[in-house]
Symmetry: C2
Subunit: 452 residues, 2 copies
Amino acid sequence: MTAAATRSIDWDSLVAALGEIEIIRDPVQVARLSKDYYSYSPLLRADLDDKVADLVVRPANEAEVMKAAAVCVQHRVPVTIRGAGTGNYGQCVPLRGGVVLDLTKLQAVKWVKPGMARVEAGVKLAALDKQTREMGWEIRMAPSTYRTATIGGFIGGGSGGIGSITYGQLRDRGNLLALRVVTMEDEPQVIELRGDDVYKVAHAWGTNGIITELEIPLGPAYPWTELVATFPDFMTAARFGQALGDADGIVKKLICICAAPISDYFAALRTMIPVGSHCALLMVAEPCLEPFGELLKEFGGTICYQKSAQESGKGVAIGEFTWNHTTLHARSVDPSLTYLQTLFPADKDLKLVEHMYHHFGDEVMMHLEFIRVNGVVLPAALQLVRYTTADRLYEIIHYHEDNGAFIANPHTYIIEDGGRKVMDPAQMQFKAMVDPYGLLNPGKIRAWEQQQ
Amino acid sequence: MTAAATRSIDWDSLVAALGEIEIIRDPVQVARLSKDYYSYSPLLRADLDDKVADLVVRPANEAEVMKAAAVCVQHRVPVTIRGAGTGNYGQCVPLRGGVVLDLTKLQAVKWVKPGMARVEAGVKLAALDKQTREMGWEIRMAPSTYRTATIGGFIGGGSGGIGSITYGQLRDRGNLLALRVVTMEDEPQVIELRGDDVYKVAHAWGTNGIITELEIPLGPAYPWTELVATFPDFMTAARFGQALGDADGIVKKLICICAAPISDYFAALRTMIPVGSHCALLMVAEPCLEPFGELLKEFGGTICYQKSAQESGKGVAIGEFTWNHTTLHARSVDPSLTYLQTLFPADKDLKLVEHMYHHFGDEVMMHLEFIRVNGVVLPAALQLVRYTTADRLYEIIHYHEDNGAFIANPHTYIIEDGGRKVMDPAQMQFKAMVDPYGLLNPGKIRAWEQQQ
């Protein structure tokens, strides 16, 4: 069953049934809360710019989430769940109108223990980090949007980020311990998922239940030094990134490598990074700075910016120029730019990276983020693309795929066409149980739409 | 210049010159302090059993070390440095008599900071660990002898151990930050080495200066759960070890895999591990136990022993059945056993491990220790060998080498013939400077002997 068109819905009666729960009907605000950062993709802009919710519901706690779920089920209204809306795949854009369920008021930190925390879905990553650091712990990984992004949104729509060089990606066992979800049944219930069962819901863009609470692991809070180093050429910078990733004795949190001219787009770093640099943006544990310096020397790197852990919080945060913030800064200078999301194969020689760097030249500017995938360090990439046409964009994508790079296409709002390619049958089965009317984020799962 | 024969030395005048420094001349004690655990090797027993120092000198601080060095240089006496004597290559056996310099009285912990410590060479690893854990930190890696071994001995003669699954080996940049050494010049001086310069001295078996103080990195002190799991067959256990090693989201400190019948040798675990088990001895961070359980389930493993971090210090410590303690326990039941030290090539399918397991059967019992080497998880091995003859032992070693396994031969007291194969020219140059008379641990470096 797919979601009914929302035209026939009696909105006044629905609003009345929601009672005390905060509702936003102001069209400007509703339009704003129907968006995320899909605008990085010219193709998604064409697809999604006109998509808007009918209203926004902002429950303040799990009880209100359950009430909102019951009312929406009763009225057969599509429900698109939203955190801070910092995704880039249109994850939280309502394709068929209805309700946007904004969970940012669920802000309780239930508990923090050594190595673990239990929090409500709307807790902002940076706020949680601040609290856990007082106990010597921090979030294992975060996107570059950690200042605004919520933990629920990250688990629902993210894949990894700053920290993935140590802990791998969110999908790896151990990086998500438990989830609590509210179902969209006639009588909504709350289900706690633990162990591998969390993957019935994680990274399903809010299609498989409403995440209200999460248990996540924490990593030790090292004092992190932020650094930018420049290199004589791009491939030396890239090889340094691989070597630092493979240096088991040097603890690090971020290895971002940007080919020239990418760093020229970083307005706030303009006085620090020489124009036209091939550079590495890094976070290294303070006790490891001396051996890090030896590795850097081996690769002929030069430090042009360094901020101690004690100064963190002052000035710029280097993490906010990496991952998809790289794209953000570049697009703020040149809005015609778009990007790719790529996973290069494990290869210490980085042959395919080198080939693509030379093959596309300035059209596809190389931006690597080293991460661990199944125990091996390899470069993910969020290349900046000088966009011309959709055909050319797909030509670039297919050239990568044909040569052995994996593309998590960020120019589609269909889950399968992004990073995962095929829906997990366990997720589909779970969806059938918790969302029997297909009301959650309708239109995003091809397999679901096809079976209706 | 090589060390003079010690016959001509005026020992009474030497002892008088040492003044207040503690000296041991009792032959029983001198004999005991001239040994390490080389006895695991029947070949080393033949070579080393008759080697004994003339006397033992036990300085209590760096000033006494300098005085002892000056006196020994003046008398041209060979000096063999000793920590707890827990090595297995005869590292601290004096080949040419002379003085054994026992550094176990240098016990000061100079400072502990987040992620770093500075200590004197004679500090016992377990004692340091206890102190740093109060601040939330611990030693990154330790041998199974951590209760008695000293940090100076570990850096001088060890390579890695429990913790190497996360941080790699001692030789990896970042796992040793600084060294302070006393030279054997006519007027001994103290030299501080930092950065890559530490490798002029590290793992040189006390041939390149007398280490008095060290700066080492610390890792976060997770609450570690100790576990033993059994598996239906050896290769499943081995593949589980590889998978756990590669599980970036699961924090662990130890992955030891023992083929049957090895665990039958563990008297203290006899009531816990079923006879004839293929088993894994593990240390896993407590916050990761739930995802760990899912991985274990995937491989059909069964937990037969589990001790929480809260109970650590009570009962047996699982680490003391791994690395070369495995050999110790096996030999305490069957003293005819000996062992190998092997590094298998990186290969997630473990094909060479599987081949050797079947090829040698019960003659070479498989004992794997998973570690990180240049960013990649692979199995080291300390196989138990049913010893027959030296020829057969070398046949086994050569079969491994011919098939692509790296053997750090533990049946030789020559540094080059063990793990490193070729002496680093920088080390040789440094030795020429700090030990011009070739008095430090003479006879252990082939390249040095050949150039005299």
